[in-house]
């Protein structure tokens, strides 16, 4: 069995917000099923290995995003090829913004994204903060905590991750949250996102296994605690 390789992009500059939790959940849910896995940290200037099966990128401060955006641009075609060919990817908050067409920040002007997602983001005066509840066709109820002043909107065809039931989501207006393109997800949900939304975690793992060319059926795990925590968080939204 070949180990499932997760590339964690920019943990030094883009993991200010519980992002480690997302990677931990992916890794543990494979460990508990006896699926070998490996997390590689990719920093600015590092090469992205060719044999990765999943990409994760978290959130950072605006300042860090400028440096990261440049480095992402150098990896742009590799990341896009990966996603276009069905590679699973999860991006949260700042990472999500940088995978869109561009992000207009309040302090650093327009930061160019790699354009994987058909979205653009702009800094606004509204700070969108609080518990958030989302209904997703694919994953059911999703919970998290959002904290962003960048508002994201779709340009052209794009599929949202879900519809906002409580909170803001992509922006204060259209009640849509996140984006999903092929097997790549962008979202504003922290919390961390994956611990209380294990269906998304398992879906990502399934796609990674498939992408690695292996055929492993995922065993059911006891998610009683995950589900209780999600229900408790949903009540707070």
């Amino acid at each position: 069995m070949k180990a499932i390789k997760i590339a964690h992009l920019y943990p030094e500059r883009m993991s200010i917000y519980g992002d480690f939790g997302n990677v931990l959940v992916l890794s543990q849910r494979m460990n508990w099923r006896g699926i070998k896995n490996e997390v590689v940290s990719i920093e600015v200037g590092d090469k992205l290995p060719k044999d990765i099966d999943m990409i994760f990128i978290g959130g950072g401060q605006d300042k860090g995003q400028v440096v990261v955006a440049e480095d992402l641009m150098a990896k742009s075609s590799q990341i896009k090829d990966f996603a276009e060919s069905g590679g699973p990817l999860l991006s949260v908050c700042g990472g999500y913004q940088l995978l869109g067409e561009y992000f207009i920040s309040s302090d650093y002007g327009q930061i160019q994204g790699i354009g994987l997602f058909n979205v653009i983001s702009k800094a606004t005066e509204t700070r969108m903060i609080g518990n958030i509840l989302v209904q997703s066709e694919k994953f059911g109820q999703l919970v998290g905590f959002e904290n962003h002043s960048g508002a994201t909107e779709f340009i052209g065809r794009a599929q949202p991750l879900g519809v906002v039931k409580k909170g803001f989501g992509n922006n204060p207006d259209d009640k849509l949250e996140g984006v999903i393109y092929k097997n790549a997800i962008g979202t504003y949900l922290h919390g961390s996102f994956l611990p209380k939304n294990p269906k998304v975690a398992d879906w990502l793992i399934r796609q990674a296994i498939k992408y690695s060319g292996q055929n492993i059926k995922l065993k059911e795990l006891n998610d009683e605690l995950e589900n209780s925590a999600r229900k408790n968080a949903a009540r707070k939204a």
Binding site: Y17, F145, H190
Partner: protein, 458 residues
């Protein structure tokens, strides 16, 4: 006239608070501010002949302030000090109203205020402190404070607007140290730091927020990292680098969880803090610096004050609960929690651990930070863990993914206290790790059984 009315209103509200037994400190300040919006400035500026000291930073504000207060006492200097938790604008106004006469006069030489980072620009522009000390800057309640860089920028602008204020900065925190780099008119900050640390360290540290040169975004080179982004580092030649500390703690030696020893600049007598933890050495060396730069206190007073200091309200404070020894370890953010794990829990195998996690406004509404703390370092722990609070399920989930077993959930605090009793025996030692509002309520419930702790509430 306006300020007289404001003082009277605040005083009446303070009295009422005391009679009704409600501990709120914001309301009297709010009333006074409604009547006179410049009341804080008026009350502070015409008082305090020996100076106004402000302590800020993510972690260690309260303990550093307590150390400074003890030094002031030892040196026989009278002072006014805001209570733990009253560190926003209205809390400061309440503190002032409490200590002033009707003419706005305070009979004290020094004002010692700990100030919440978000309120620093507003409060300090009003009261123009003689000295500002910054302990450290870490990610903290991102829902309230926003990004760290923005806080740092607001501090930098504030410092340039207050050219006569003396600055005491942590040399070992790159973001804090950078606040004193190339200030206008060749103004120099005073730096404090730690020269060496060989005590226990956690291995799963995800809290290094500022390991880059804040001006060029180049990575700094660490020769020794103590925790988070705190340590000895250097930048590129000719650019920003770790400033040489004016006051440096050396020979840091920790003995169990009883105490920690160090000396200053290799010349002072040994200082022995009756509380463990490298973070407390930072708090002490910060207080030491303040005493040196603005109080002109003699060395012996400083050292004996530090030696005689005891833990502050909820911060490694020891209480008695039904003949069990309870240590209250307030947790607010991943760095603070990591320091507690590093100091108290790395060697623990079977002691009762109790986490109480609330998500009220004062705790921070967002609990994402639990995922950044180093619970993985507790992997050798085999004892019982109880979790409570409004976010008990999130805490239990975090422990599950850290691979810890033996976790029980009880959201209700009274039932949780019963579980604590059931899962421990007389004379056993229990560690309670609560968030802020959980600390207040757990502490008052435990205090109902402990006369020593009760005194605080009177």
């Amino acid at each position: 006239m306006r300020s007289l009315l404001a003082i009277i209103a605040a005083k009446v509200a303070l009295k009422t608070n005391r009679i009704t037994g409600s501990g709120g400190t914001a309301l009297p300040g709010m009333l006074a501010q409604k009547l006179d919006k410049d009341i804080l400035r008026k009350l502070v500026l015409k008082n305090f002949p020996k100076g106004i000291i402000v302590v800020t930073g993510t972690n260690g504000k309260t303990t550093t302030s307590r150390f400074i207060a003890n030094i002031l006492e030892e040196a026989g200097i009278s002072y006014v000090h805001n209570r733990a938790g009253s560190n926003m604008e209205r809390g400061l106004i309440s503190t002032m109203a409490e200590n002033t006469n009707l003419y706005g006069r305070v009979d004290a030489d020094v004002a010692l205020f700990e100030v919440d980072e978000a309120f620093m620009p507003k409060v300090c522009r009003a009261i123009e402190p003689d000295t500002i000390v910054v302990t450290n800057l870490f990610r903290d309640q991102l829902d309230r404070y926003g990004e760290l860089d923005k806080i740092a920028r607001s501090f930098r602008n504030l410092f340039e607007d207050l050219p006569n204020t003396k600055l005491g900065l942590n040399a070992d925190d790159p973001l804090v140290a950078s606040l004193g780099y190339k200030l206008e008119n060749e103004r120099k900050a005073t730096y404090f730091g730690v020269g060496d640390y060989n005590g226990p360290k956690i291995t799963n540290d995800h809290t290094a927020d500022s390991i880059f040169d804040p001006f060029t975004q180049q990575k700094l080179h660490y020769t020794d990292r103590y925790f988070g982004h705190i340590g000895r580092y250097r930048g590129k030649r000719g650019g920003f680098t770790r400033p040489k500390p004016d006051f440096q703690a050396n020979n840091v030696r920790q003995k169990g969880i009883e105490n920690i020893k160090f000396d200053v600049n290799k010349t002072s007598k040994a200082i022995k803090l009756e509380m463990p933890g490298l973070f407390n050495v930072y708090n002490a060396i910060a207080a030491y610096s303040v005493a040196k730069i603005c109080l002109d206190t003699d060395e012996n007073s400083i050292i004996s004050a530090l030696n005689e200091s005891s833990a502050v309200f909820g911060r490694s404070e020891q209480l008695n609960y039904l003949n069990r020894e309870v240590v209250m370890l307030l947790i607010k953010n991943p760095t603070g929690l990591n320091q507690i794990i590093q100091t108290y829990l790395l060697k623990e195998k079977d002691r009762l651990l109790v986490f109480v996690i609330n998500d009220n406004f004062a705790d921070g509404r967002d609990i994402s930070w639990l995922w950044d703390a180093a619970f993985e370092d507790l992997k050798g722990y085999r004892g019982k863990i109880l979790v409570g609070g409004t976010r008990a399920y999130d805490m239990a989930l975090r422990l599950k993914y850290a691979g810890l077993k033996g976790v029980s959930i009880e959201s209700d605090e009274n039932s949780l206290l019963k579980m604590i009793e059931k899962n421990s025996t007389r004379r056993s030692k229990i560690f309670i790790l609560p968030t802020y509002t959980a600390m207040l309520s757990m502490r008052s419930k435990i205090a109902a059984n402990d006369d020593k702790a009760k005194e605080f509430w009177q």
